[in-house]
Symmetry: C2
Subunit: 478 residues, 2 copies
Amino acid sequence: MADIQESKESLQESLQQVITLLNKHKLIEGLVHKQDMPKQELVETLVHRQNLAELQKKLDALHPADVAYILEALPLDQRLDVWELVKAERDGDILLEVSDAVRQTLIADMDSEELLAAAEQLDTDELADLAPDLPKDVLQDLFESLDARNRERLQSALSYPDDAVGALMDFDVVTIREDITLEVALRYLRRIGSLPDHTDKLFVVDRHDVLRGVLPLKRLVVNDLDSGVAEIMADDAVIFHPEDKANDAAKAFERYDLVTAPVVDENNKLVGRLTVDTVMDFIREEAESDMLSLAGLREDEDMFSSVWKAVQNRWTWLAINLVTAFVASRVIGAFEGSIEKIVALAALMPIVAGIGGNSGNQTITMIVRGLALGQVASHNMKSLLQKELGIALLNGLIWGSVLGVVAYLLYDNVALGMVMTAAMTLNLLLASVMGVLIPLVMTKFGRDPAVGSSVLITAMTDSGGFFIFLGLATLILL
Amino acid sequence: MADIQESKESLQESLQQVITLLNKHKLIEGLVHKQDMPKQELVETLVHRQNLAELQKKLDALHPADVAYILEALPLDQRLDVWELVKAERDGDILLEVSDAVRQTLIADMDSEELLAAAEQLDTDELADLAPDLPKDVLQDLFESLDARNRERLQSALSYPDDAVGALMDFDVVTIREDITLEVALRYLRRIGSLPDHTDKLFVVDRHDVLRGVLPLKRLVVNDLDSGVAEIMADDAVIFHPEDKANDAAKAFERYDLVTAPVVDENNKLVGRLTVDTVMDFIREEAESDMLSLAGLREDEDMFSSVWKAVQNRWTWLAINLVTAFVASRVIGAFEGSIEKIVALAALMPIVAGIGGNSGNQTITMIVRGLALGQVASHNMKSLLQKELGIALLNGLIWGSVLGVVAYLLYDNVALGMVMTAAMTLNLLLASVMGVLIPLVMTKFGRDPAVGSSVLITAMTDSGGFFIFLGLATLILL
């Protein structure tokens, strides 16, 4: 039995052992380079070889997912040392397990032949995941090495966008006819000898591959052997089309607790299946990409990528942020006269802007989540906006008053305190309106509301906050 | 066949239909209240009843998960109208499907008897999910209504924290002995007549319930009927303990593509199982809670909660943000003399602070993610810090120079431009160091690095940015 606690410790341990062996390897290499007495060299080479053999043994004993974990946790040079030692026949499986960014570093280290060999170990649906990262000539050779059926499958899998069911499905379907008995079905399965991973149901099709229903293994093993497939099968299974959005499919998997589900074309012909492990990976990736894009990272970044690559990944949002910060700065610039007269304004204005940004981000997170769950729509927009305005008003009056009193105590100026309270309340109201409108407008224009809405709301509450506070101060205090 | 595209449309359609019927219902109620001619009333009541009957029929036809979806998408008063109409025997299943916040509003609307009736429809592991939201007296009655075995199970399930395997496992295990043949096993299953949801394997135990291995249904149906269970079963299954972290279990499910897995106690005795649907819900909830806590929301919020409830959910982080904004304001206050002399400083300082915050949040997101995946640890901290420092230096020099030139052009002051460039670079370096250190220190002290680290880094880059920029300006320009 593989105990999870042990297996987790041993994964960390494995990583440590690999690092120790790698360091030893480097040390020995250094020695060999420095000294070139032939005898000495011989001994070193022996130690060297033993060391590498040990490392290789260690790696061979690990699950591909665990090797992938170790590769991702290592800086580039050590990563490539380990990659060299991984048995060639496991390359394909491991490439599938590592993250996109790390996969690129590994592929860059392989020549065409190695890549082709790795690709040829994979199923068509797995190939489709790998294909976008392969050099064009390798992809060409690969296509030529496939038989007609698999070539067609690969082409069709590649034709769907990343977020469509067609890009996630696999072709490991086991089909039976509806006019046979369970006994015949079981005999057929025993002849096949093994079933694909995650097979929890057989797909019942007619002679034209049109889906008639599904026969869960659960039902197969508890029902009378004389029963016909047609009477035992479920004919109300949840089905998908290749062009369905993966996100909708993921929700259906969660909602209806599916393990596998058939994918059919417009004529109800079975073309593949979707499995829960792929769906789970998709959910994990979506959640991560939301988190990354909220922080202004364009895509997944290899933890040990070069500084230059990382700069490229991050510069877009930094640049946008620079522009919005510049706009906010110009708003302040317009009121330089007021600040010169009451310098306290300069010290107080970031508070108004900051709290507005924080509050706006809370609102926007709620709305983005409601949109993702399909709970926010035109029919309830009004009540949502009312709620957020209510919260903003309450928070503005409470916290605005606190800060108004603080400003009065600090600068001994009642009017300044009142301006502070009024500006806080107005900026929070602005934040709540924008927090509801920005994601709704982005959705209306077909954009992902998670990407960049945080930067947009902060831009508005910064510039807006400075304008409201300095404007009110100029009107009232000067 | 339930077509996913249709089913999604029909889910939105169902919601619309429910809303239309609810509005009609309200209209009729209003009429009945206004007019009290007996004849008129009779007619209205008839229409009223027809309308409600239609609504009820609609709801009865929906999957519990879909009713939950509709309940979550409705404002409180309409939600409770619908909840009244849901057949009592479905209450339990639906309560399990709605979010925590919405569940509380539904439970608040039910009396003890209704709650007890709803709870009695559920399995022990489902009860454990519901129990924390039930009033004490209902929970007491519930305990008394259970038999000894289920009472013990419920007690043990409640004794584990939310994020332990023990809180997620269920007790729907089907066990067999290892000394029988597959034929005997199949005969036994046919006698049972049906298997629990998600059964992809049988658990092989000895007479003391000690786990000996697992027999996947896949293997059961493809192997010779004369084979013994012992030779066909897998004895290297991934197993869990009730006290294992749910997060580690979720990673193991993803890594090893599991559908179900046995949970055993310290003596290797089988106590329950973990299923992929529970794990998937857990992953989804974790991802959402990370997103919410990054935005400074304490917990899941009912989209239609009262303003007052929402304010309570959000005030903690707003208050913390208020304190950090106040500190930043005091830093500026210390340099009021300098700002009075060069008012341009007031307009430029938010740019330095803002870009620092944005860049720091990028770094912190990378590190938090690396920590969550177990890829960031002491052995690679140095190279990570070097990388982040490199990125900060490069970004600082590039963007700092751009802004330095802009500041020079705006204010015709070379020294001011140079101060801008230097301050940007220094603040980005500060952001990168803090972006690496904050999550590491939080983890060291056993805290979740996702909660609050964004607020902390922004606090540092704000106060730090103001201090660096205004300090440099005071030293060099005055």
